[in-house]
């Protein structure tokens, strides 16, 4: 479904990553990992159209994604999560998830202000509640987001992505900044989204342990170059991967 070919990104004289190619099949979870500075975040930013690559191609369902602006991502069926959280603190969890539904809604401000949009609103609220249920956050619907602990906020963020009904979900370091317990919960949640909901996911992550538990396949970057791609088992035994991580602690979540 997602085809990346020979993608290269440079910032002036510095190469963020070079000649990256991979596919993500429908319903697959591909994780991109690598030591710090390997270029995985930059890759993520190219895919979510924040950066413009120097060369290469990205096709989603045959469509040229590089021709798209980042404001078109939702319409193309791509949902991405944000590390600094795309949530609006003063709104409730439900309202935040509803923002994810925005691109699927049709009612304009006039109908909204006159109170004529109730039917559509109800339908989307139901969808939003279902999304919250998918991540196990249905009880948080009326809670104001800034009162929620970090782990719960991350759930709501994921619910927002799910509510967008995307073809492809891009997850930006989902367990970053989490405690061990939170990491376990999030890993389990991502696994559920993938297995039970059949979502197609591309994950960028630092935490090896999490990745090994949820990924169908793993792409390993080192200094901007892809050094291995395969199942978690294959990649873990790959010599080049071991060498890349040698001297670095394997960030295996407890």
């Amino acid at each position: 479904m997602l085809e990346v070919r020979d993608l290269t990104l440079r910032f002036g004289a510095i190469t963020a990553f070079e000649d990256v190619s991979f596919d993500v099949a429908r319903g697959e979870l591909l994780a991109v990992i690598g030591p710090n500075g390997a270029g995985k975040s930059s890759l993520f930013n190219v895919l979510s159209r924040v950066y413009e690559p120097q060369s290469g191609s990205v096709r989603l369902g045959g469509q040229d994604m590089l021709a798209r602006h980042r404001s078109e991502l939702a319409a193309c069926g791509v949902a991405r999560s944000f590390q600094n959280l795309g949530l609006v603190g003063e709104l409730t969890a439900l309202e935040n998830v509803l923002i994810g539904r925005d691109h699927l809604m049709r009612c304009g401000a006039l109908r909204g202000g006159l109170g004529l949009a109730r039917t559509e609103e109800r339908a989307h609220r139901d969808a939003a509640r279902r999304a919250l249920a998918t991540v196990g956050a249905q009880d948080l619907a009326q809670r104001v987001v800034q009162t929620l602990p970090y782990g719960d906020r991350k759930r709501v963020e994921l619910a927002r992505c799910v509510a967008m009904e995307p073809q492809l979900m891009l997850l930006d370091e989902p367990v970053a900044g989490m405690s061990a317990a939170e990491r376990g919960d999030m890993t389990e949640l991502v696994r559920r989204l993938h297995r039970d909901q059949g979502l197609t996911l591309l994950l960028v992550e630092h935490d090896m342990g999490m990745v090994m538990r949820v990924a169908d396949r793993v792409l390993v970057l080192d200094f901007g170059r892809p050094i291995a791609i395969g199942t978690p088992a294959e990649v873990q035994q790959d010599e080049r991967v071991i060498r890349a991580y040698l001297g670095e602690e394997l960030a295996v979540g407890a």
């Binding site: 930013n45 979510s48 924040v50 944000f82 600094n84």
Partner: protein, 295 residues
């Protein structure tokens, strides 16, 4: 032709003054992302302080100017320390609104203290002038250009060659990172606002010079420096200078050449129209760049 040169000279001198005012904005914006809507009020305060010291108190002119620069520098720093620092974490929008509020209050206070009439600036130049190439060059305007160039040169040297200049740039770039490097960011902010106060005073001095005078409407004149900073791109000191010159020349040229069909006093809105037109083509000003986004 001489009329053109005359207008050009006046435009450049006005532009130089706008450049000074614009630089005061840019300095604050670069360090904190705040547009200081109180700059006009500071300018007004500067001009009035000079006038008060020189005419009411009888201080000699140059010391009066220096003292005013110092006083306004202190006032600027005081405002930062006393008010802005308390709202440090709030969104920029809040800080900007605070400067709007402060600006209104100060402008009205000055009018309350000194009345609405024109005052004497107390400068030694008055309306004296000399002639060159058919152009009347008033001393005050010439000095305006000279002082502006000197102030700009001093600022650029400060920015590039001293560690405070570097500290200000770093703070503008990433305050938290700079703080964690041990840079006294609080002091940087104080210096930034002190600079804004001094630049405002110098700007006020020349805006209040012949043929104008210290009067409450000076604050509005300062507002015309806004297009200058916007044109220049809010973060660029060079842009501020170019923007200031452009606006000054535009304003004077329009007052000289604008057809009456565009209405009386068209020159007062010409800078804004020019600004809007340029922004349509270049949304970040002539020298500005779209800010890098971290999502």
């Amino acid at each position: 032709m001489t009329e053109f040169l005359q207008l050009l000279f006046q435009g450049v001198s006005l532009g130089a003054t706008y450049a000074l005012v614009a630089l005061g904005f840019v300095v604050v914006y670069r360090a904190s992302g705040v547009i200081n809507f109180a700059q006009g009020a500071m300018l007004l305060a500067g001009a009035y302080t000079i006038s008060w010291l020189a005419t009411d108190i009888g201080v000699a002119f140059v010391p009066a100017v220096l003292a005013s620069v110092a006083l306004l520098a202190l006032a600027g720093a005081g405002f930062q320390a006393g008010v802005l620092r308390r709202v440090a974490g709030e969104p920029t929008f809040v800080l900007v609104m605070i400067t709007i509020g402060a600006g209104i209050a100060v402008t009205a206070l000055i009018e309350a203290l000194f009345g609405a009439d024109q005052r004497l600036l107390g400068d030694p130049w008055g309306s004296s002038s000399f002639h060159a190439a058919g152009v009347t060059i008033t001393w005050v305007k010439l000095w305006g250009i000279v002082v502006t160039v000197a102030a700009l040169a001093a600022y650029f040297a400060f920015d590039r060659y001293t560690r405070w200049g570097l500290a200000m740039q770093a703070t503008a770039e990433d305050e938290e990172a700079t703080l964690s490097l041990g840079v006294p960011v609080a002091r940087v902010h104080l210096i930034t606002w002190a600079l804004a106060g001094s630049l405002a005073t110098l700007g006020g001095l020349f805006l209040a010079g012949f043929p104008s005078s210290p009067q409450p409407t000076l604050g509005d004149a300062a507002l015309r420096a806004f297009p200058a900073i916007v044109l220049g791109g809010l973060r660029s000191p060079t842009g501020a200078v170019v923007g200031g010159l452009l606006i000054g020349v535009t304003e004077v040229m329009t007052s000289g050449y604008a057809p009456s069909s565009l209405g009386d006093n068209f020159y007062a809105v010409a800078p804004y129209i020019a600004m809007i037109l340029i922004l349509l083509v270049r949304p970040y000003g002539l020298f500005g760049r779209a800010p890098a986004e971290r999502l």
